[in-house]
């Protein structure tokens, strides 16, 4: 089969829609187009039935007790905002302290920053050098003012899978609510809100081959019952938790994407892990001074985050423009700061600038992996020929021993 360029290996950013998902969605644009809130005719009833089925499918997949615990949103950013701000506002009489980690997504971190401006106190727990959060650090941060702990299931940059079950055991014991941004790990690693004692969970469809613009927030209804202050005012949809006409085709697509994972997820994870390891193995065989960022085993099957020492990430991405990947290099962001996730893991700034994230997914093939491995190896070798740092390294000069003038 001929390769299609650029080869997409950025499945942490988003995934292509699975054709089976698209097929499931199509009737809800033109035939069953009703407003799920319309109670007076069949168009509305059909739409509502499709939404309720979808709710059950998603609830069942994450181990929730009922579809009533699923609040549909526009995506994970909204889910994170609703969970954190909604809980903080509702429980402000109980306490004003929130605990999260330095490697969370910006939707969590910036929601917390907003709350700090409003008088809440937030503790940001660091991940270790392996990109894993230590549950003991979370426990040590809990005070009698703590109302919420928010930790992600899997990190979007280094793919590390956090010990959610252990953290959930702690928060349950201490009577603190636990929110999990499950966006990256959901479908790709086991996630069960009962077993892991998760009280709120953010989900999104477009990371699991579903459509963009639809997500969900799981909100526990019993033991304990979690309450929220809605952040969107209007018609009181979603049991008053989130007003706004439901995105019916999106919700149907979301549930279809979930049911595909339910059927095929385990086998798919094995296949993708195999591709990832093949890519890693091929690169390691040909190149020295390549470092894996994040824990070697406790990571998403499709995640390969590598630092190619002595080569700058954006420079490398320009050289491998036949592949769609992303980099922790400063140059890819407007801020000119390298990845805050890699830095908070204590990675050398030089290595943070040299990082590339490969995100493999459902539609990648062995042929693509072999092509990408060869391309990356060739281009890294070429850029190292251009790199004064590599020349120094070969001459045995320790780059850290040089007094660099920061600029």
């Amino acid at each position: 089969m001929a390769l299609k360029f650029p080869i997409y290996m950025d499945n942490h950013a988003t995934t292509p829609l699975d054709k089976r998902v698209l097929e499931a969605m199509l009737p809800y644009f033109t035939q069953d187009f009703g407003n799920a809130a319309s109670r007076t005719h069949a168009y509305g009833w059909h739409a509502e039935a499709a939404v309720e089925d979808s709710r059950e499918t998603i609830a069942d997949y994450i181990g929730a007790e009922s579809g009533k615990e699923i609040v549909f949103t526009s995506g994970a950013t909204e889910s994170d905002n609703l969970a954190i701000k909604g809980v903080a506002e509702y429980y402000k009489g109980k306490g004003n302290h929130i605990i999260t980690t330095t490697i969370e997504h910006k939707a969590v971190l910036d929601s917390c920053k907003r709350l700090e401006k409003e008088g809440y106190t937030v503790t940001y727990v660091n991940a270790g050098p392996d990109g894993l959060v230590n549950p003991a650090d979370i426990e040590a941060a809990i005070t009698d003012k703590t109302i919420l702990v928010s930790v992600m299931l899997a990190n979007n940059e280094v793919g590390t899978i956090q010990p959610i079950g252990e953290i959930g055991a702690i928060t349950r014991k201490r009577g603190v609510l636990f929110h999990c941004d499950a966006v990256q790990g959901f479908g790709k690693t086991p996630f069960d809100v009962q077993r892991m004692n998760v009280d709120l969970a953010s989900l999104t469809a477009h990371k699991i081959y579903g459509p963009k613009g639809v997500g969900a927030l799981y909100v526990r209804r019993s033991k304990p019952r979690v309450r929220l202050v809605a952040q969107m005012d209007g018609g009181g949809h979603e049991r008053g938790n989130r007003s706004g006409t439901l995105n019916v085709p999106g919700i149907v697509g979301f549930a279809k994407a979930v049911s595909i994972f339910k059927q095929e997820g385990v086998a798919e994870a094995d296949r993708i892990r195999g591709l990832r390891d093949r890519l890693h193995g091929a690169i390691n065989k040909e190149l020295d001074s390549v470092f894996l960022n994040g824990h070697p085993e406790k990571r998403l099957p499709g995640n390969l985050n590598l630092s190619f020492s002595f080569v700058e990430g954006e420079g490398l991405m320009m050289a491998i423009k036949d592949v769609a990947v992303s980099s922790g290099s400063a140059c890819t962001s407007a801020s000119l700061e390298p990845s805050y996730v890699l830095r908070s893991m204590g990675l050398d700034e030089e290595l943070a600038h040299s990082s590339i994230r490969f995100g493999l997914g459902r539609f990648n093939t062995e042929e693509e992996v072999d092509y990408v491995a060869e391309l990356v190896i060739g281009k890294v070798k070429r850029l190292r020929e251009l790199s004064p740092l590599y020349e120094m390294h070969q001459q045995g000069i320790d780059i850290k021993s040089i007094q660099w003038a920061a600029h």
Binding site: F310, V311, E312, E314, G315, M318, S329, A330, C331, A334, L336, P338, D348, E349, E350, H353, E385, L386, S387, P388, L389, Y390, E391, M392, I397, I399, I402, Q403, W404, A405, A406, H407
Partner: protein
């Protein structure tokens, strides 16, 4: 980010990549930037007794704009005398390559690299002249460890 054809050409076909002997008295070396900032340029010049840059070489760790800026810098300074080369401004490099605003610092670094190489050459020459003026000293100063 959309890059200009000139920038892409310098990135894909960089001119004057390489290394000159830093201990050669006619060679000046500039090493600017820092690995932690994501770019390091090393630019070297070989200067004739008349003060003309006969050869220029570079190696750069950095993004495409940094590589292209240093490649262009070597192309421009070759054949110029050192005073002309020292007058090249970062804005000329940025304009030639149509650098986007977030990449202007790459051209600043290239200007710094040119100036730094020229200063290194001048400092070496001054040290040599001082040495020539005091024949009592043993002529072994060239073995001093260089920072590179």
């Amino acid at each position: 980010m959309a890059y200009s054809d000139k920038l892409l050409d310098h990135y894909e076909n960089p001119r004057n990549v390489g290394t000159l002997d830093k201990d050669d008295p006619s060679v000046g070396t500039g090493l600017v930037g820092a690995p932690a900032c994501g770019d390091v340029m090393r630019l070297q010049i070989r200067v004739s007794p008349e003060g003309v840059i006969e050869d220029a070489r570079f190696k750069t760790f950095g993004c495409g704009s940094a590589i292209a800026s240093s490649s262009l810098a070597t192309e421009w300074i070759k054949g110029k005398n050192i005073d002309e080369a020292a007058s090249i401004k970062n804005s000329q490099i940025a304009e030639e390559l149509s650098l986007p605003p977030v990449k202007i610092h790459c051209s600043v670094l290239a200007e710094d690299a040119i100036k730094s190489a020229i200063e290194d050459y001048k400092a070496k020459r001054a040290a040599r002249l001082a040495l020539d003026a005091s024949p009592a000293e043993a002529p072994t100063a060239a073995t001093a460890p260089a920072s590179l």
